[in-house]
């Protein structure tokens, strides 16, 4: 555990670094991003090993979901950095002419990133890219539940990046608490709503702005697709978006499916076939599905199946291997809606399918539940698509795929309501750690002399005209060519 004395020293060093102005220089930001790129390219094996050790991820999954995405994001930031850093000129209404205005982006200062265990590299480094690009100094607290990854992050960031400006502080809740007592200029948190409340409450003491990336139950509406090609494509994406993404332990993973009663059987049968194709006869041995992070989480997933009515609804899979912390891909059909599995975020490889009379009922179903990070819909029905867009609310809405929004640079990634607030990825990452300072420059030359007291009707009339941007009136009144009309109230 990090003793308090050390923490104070580290923070003091960060403050000194920030004060020196070093991190504001484009050259510093660029060099740090380039070093991050080298880290990702050169230490790939260490990262794969850590992810395998912590959570049983296959190399390809690790590359696809973490390393590869990060490389793409760093390159994107390097390409766009100059543009992001340059001010934006702003239009001005004529009444303030001649005046120049612009928006100047500046770093917030010292920022804290708290990340999660399921995508320990991605969820640590993606915000870090934004924080560095925006010119801040950073403390990263990786999740202690993924200790191998936390340790690799600490050693690699220490050797590749400027460790007077970017620090990794490892530890559990008590370290987290100590960090939260400090005054930060921004806190970026990825994790559960419970801890988010603790973070935001601590931030409130210092009026610190926060971004909260939480989760929720992300539903996938699956319409009856007539073409077998479409069905296969959809099911692959669904299975990939559930079992293939950290064994369902993903904030944007598909939590449950909504489909029509008459389509459910076809869907399940085709899913069974594809599960075997994709994950093999023995998914644990083929390393195609990650394992559960720890015993505590394994047991809570197990308890979701304890309810006899839930257990009875299992139509595929359901076997649990406590020694290896492995749960095989499991499908359930119509577990009771009041059961825990339909009310808590599952965060595991259990996929309930809820069957409805008509697919349109899915809109009401989703609406009546808390807002999640994503809603997915596999359909070609444009009317249904429009209804989902306008009647449901979620961080994002994806048609005909799952998870893929995580890889996008131009689309904001973040929640709403119970799934959090704030967003990142691409420029949104830069913005999350930036203050857009409004700067206005005036001259001494032109003055609206009627700005100043003592007040009278005449000045009042001029103001009324000026505010309506009615310049002609202003000129005429000033030249005495237009009478100032009766003002309603004067002293």
């Amino acid at each position: 555990m990090e003793p308090i004395g050390d923490l104070e020293r580290e923070l003091e060093e960060l403050r000194e670094t920030y004060k020196s102005g070093k991190t504001k220089e484009a050259s510093w930001r660029r060099s740090q991003l380039k070093s991050l790129l080298s880290l990702l390219e050169e230490r790939e094996e260490d990262i794969f090993q850590a992810l395998h050790q912590d959570i049983g991820k296959n190399h390809v999954e690790s590359y696809r979901d973490e390393v590869g995405i990060l490389i793409k994001s760093v390159n994107y930031a390097l390409d766009c950095l100059k543009q992001w850093m340059s001010g934006k000129n702003v239009k001005l209404p004529m009444v303030t002419f001649p005046t120049r205005a612009e928006l100047v982006p500046e770093p917030l200062g010292i920022v804290l990133i708290i990340s999660s265990w399921n995508f320990p590299f991605g969820l640590s480094l993606e915000p870090l890219i934004g924080a560095i690009a925006a010119g801040n100094v950073v403390v990263l607290k990786p999740s202690e539940l993924a200790p191998a990854s936390s340790s690799v992050l600490a050693t690699t960031l220490h050797s590749y990046l400027d460790n007077k400006a970017v620090k990794v502080i490892q530890g559990g809740p008590s370290v987290g608490d100590q960090l939260l007592q400090q005054k930060w200029d921004k806190i970026f948190f990825t994790g559960s709503p419970r801890v988010a409340r603790i973070v935001m409450t601590a931030a409130a003491k210092h009026l610190t702005p926060v971004t909260l990336e939480l989760g929720g139950k992300c539903p996938a509406v699956v319409d009856a697709l007539s073409s077998s090609w479409d069905r296969e494509m959809a099911i692959k994406r669904i299975l990939g978006g559930k079992f293939g993404a950290c064994a369902g332990q993903a904030c944007i993973g598909i939590d449950y499916i909504l489909t029509e009663k008459k389509f459910a059987t076809t869907l399940i049968e085709e899913m069974k076939v594809l599960i075997k194709k994709m994950f093999g006869e023995n998914p644990r041995e083929s390393h195609s599905v990650a394992r559960i992070i720890n015993k505590h989480h394994f047991l809570s997933l197990k308890s979701l199946l304890d309810d006899p009515m839930v257990k009875a609804s299992v139509v595929y899979g359901g076997s649990l291997d406590e020694d290896h912390l492995f749960i095989e891909p499991t499908i359930l059909l119509d577990p009771p809606l009041e059961a825990a599995i339909m009310n808590e975020e599952i965060f595991g490889p259990l996929l309930p399918i809820i069957s409805l009379e008509k697919i349109e009922e899915s809109v009401e179903f989703i609406k009546s539940r808390p807002r999640g990070l994503s809603v997915y819909a596999f359909t070609k029905n444009e009317k249904l698509m429009r209804r989902l867009i306008s009647e449901t609310s979620s961080g994002s809405l994806i048609f005909n795929d799952a998870i893929i929004q995580y890889a996008a640079d131009t689309v904001p990634f973040g929640g709403v309501g119970e799934s959090g607030f704030g967003r990142y990825h691409g420029k949104f990452s830069f913005d999350a750690f930036t203050h857009e300072k409004a700067v206005v420059r005036r001259h001494f030359l032109i003055e609206f002399w009627f700005r100043f007291p003592p007040w009278n009707d005449y000045k009042m009339q001029l103001f009324k005209s000026a505010y309506r941007y009615n310049y002609l009136s202003v000129v005429l009144i000033t030249l005495g060519l237009k009478k100032s009309s009766q003002c309603s109230k004067t002293h």
């Binding site: 205005a101 893929i404 203050h435 206005v440």
Partner: protein
């Protein structure tokens, strides 16, 4: 003698009332009423009409609450509100249109857009110094974005608060727009509820309480706070114009009771006497020889604040530094424009936001030193610089952090609807005005469209080395790499 009588039912707004208020508003919002363009436009038009029809009542209320001069009331509150409303009405349709977004090769083939949607039910808590503007300007944003809204005006400006309750009750759709009047108990009851957004204007202490209450429900918050807005004055400037603008930006703004008014001046030792002389001359021109009698100055809002401001002068080391003004009229809650020179750094007046008609002048040897002085304190809502020196301007923009910066004037930057208005650090979180008001009450939902054609099977298990190679090429956007991987090289 102990009585067995039951206490009469309190007519106050309590937790129960707050709960049912929120329930009603959720019902309205869930039914979709506030989402239509037509509803939003009709409500904005009603706000405009309310302002036009009752201009006199508003001016009267402001005079009652703050002795605000008519023209100040008109210019800084009524005209600003009208112009904000008109601007929003003109732009709303455009703001509501989803924004098409380019997508890259990693998600190819796909198309994407960002769809703005209302957050739901929002709470606006406003302040007492511009009670009309600071209540309705955020409400404009909330309505424009399609939310249901509760406004809690400040009880320290009671005439305006009750006028707002009355007028909004008459003019607006009361199933979706409500005013709850009250003080700490009512505000606490409101803050216990779950809102989809809270917009607070006021001071940092209460801001912290609002943020902590919001944390329980993970509610996003905008905080428009204040700070000690410094004015740096160089010597090579047009002195008369500068003096006039400083006066307008200090005493002309609710007699210094404004979050963006000039809090204190920083200038060189040599120039200070000249600046003080110019200020004295212009002050007399503006307010006459007996400023306590001038009707062009607001009074101090309440006896509490009067005591707070006069306490800043209590210190001998401070009162001895008065170079102009200092007169007080407690019965009328008036304090004359007061200038002080070189008060001690550790005095209260140099460490708290003054929010009153006292203007300390701090002198330095070199003007560049002023940047360090400003940066050593908390980030203010605004910082001002009067100079003709281009290098100094650029150094100012580069080195001073504040919500906004204005060069060669004071406060005027907030009239521009194209600029975000908000703080940073201790001066606040979030921004508004113009489109930023719409954005602050909006969730920008990312919508991604994918087709069933074209997919990289490399995405899915079973995982192989070949797939790894392809993924590497795909994610790096490297066309040659993609081709090579596809061909199995």
């Amino acid at each position: 003698m102990a009585s067995e009588d039951k206490k009469p039912k309190a007519a106050c707004f309590d937790g129960e009332a707050a709960r049912s208020l929120v329930k009603e508003l959720r019902g309205t919002f869930d039914a979709g009423k506030t989402k239509s363009y037509e509803w939003r436009v009709s409500q904005l038009k009603s706000l405009l009409k309310l302002t036009k029809d009752h201009e006199d009542d508003i001016i009267d209320a402001l005079r009652s609450d703050l002795s605000k001069p008519v023209l100040e009331a008109f210019v800084s509150e009524i005209a600003m509100l009208k112009s904000s409303c008109e601007f929003t009405l003109k732009q709303l349709k455009r703001w509501m249109v989803p924004e098409k977004v380019k997508t890259s090769i990693t998600t190819f083939p796909s198309s994407a857009e960002i769809v703005p949607e209302p957050l739901g039910i929002v709470l606006v808590i406003s302040a007492w110094n511009y009670p009309f503007l600071l209540s309705l300007d955020p409400v404009i944003g909330a309505i424009a974005a399609g939310n249901a809204v509760v406004l809690k005006p400040s009880e320290i400006a009671p005439a305006t608060s009750s006028l707002l309750a009355k007028l909004l009750g008459e003019y607006m759709d009361s199933s979706a727009v409500k005013v709850i009047e009250g003080a700490v108990p009512e505000t606490s009851a409101l803050l216990e509820q779950k809102w989809d957004k809270i917009f607070y204007t006021g001071n940092g202490k209460v801001g912290s309480i609002v943020l902590a209450a919001a944390a329980k429900h993970l509610t996003p918050v905008s905080l428009e706070l204040g700070g000690k807005c410094p004015v740096i004055v160089d010597s090579n400037i047009n002195l008369i114009t500068t003096a006039r603008r400083i006066i307008a930006g200090k005493w002309g703004m609710n007699n210094g009771q404004a979050c963006i008014s000039a809090d204190h001046i920083i200038t060189t030792k040599d120039f200070a006497p000249k600046l003080i002389d110019a200020l004295k001359v212009e002050l007399v021109k503006f307010y006459g020889n007996d400023p306590l009698a001038s009707e062009d100055l607001s009074r101090i809002v309440s006896s509490n604040h009067f005591a707070r401001v006069t306490k800043l002068l209590d210190d001998d080391k401070v009162s001895g530094k008065i170079v102009h003004g200092g007169q007080k009229d407690q019965s009328n809650l008036k304090i004359a424009p007061t200038i002080l020179l070189d008060v001690p750094e550790d005095s209260l007046i140099m460490n708290e936001e003054i929010f009153g008609p006292l203007l300390p002048i701090v002198t330095v040897d070199n003007l560049e030193d002023s940047f360090n002085i400003i940066n050593s304190g908390e980030k203010p809502l605004a910082a001002y610089l009067f100079t003709n020196n281009k290098k100094l301007k650029e150094a100012f923009v580069r080195n001073v952090s504040a919500g906004g910066l204005l060069i060669n004037d004071v406060a005027l930057h907030i009239t521009n609807p194209y600029l975000p208005f908000g703080g940073v650090g201790e001066s606040g979180i979030g921004s508004y005005h113009g489109r930023f008001s719409f954005d602050t009450f909006t969730h920008k939902k990312a919508v991604l469209y994918r087709s069933f054609t074209g997919d990289a099977s490399a995405r899915y298990p079973p995982y192989t080395l070949g797939k790894l190679r392809l993924l590497k090429a795909l994610l790096s956007g490297n066309i040659l790499g993609i081709i090579r991987a596809l061909l199995g090289w």
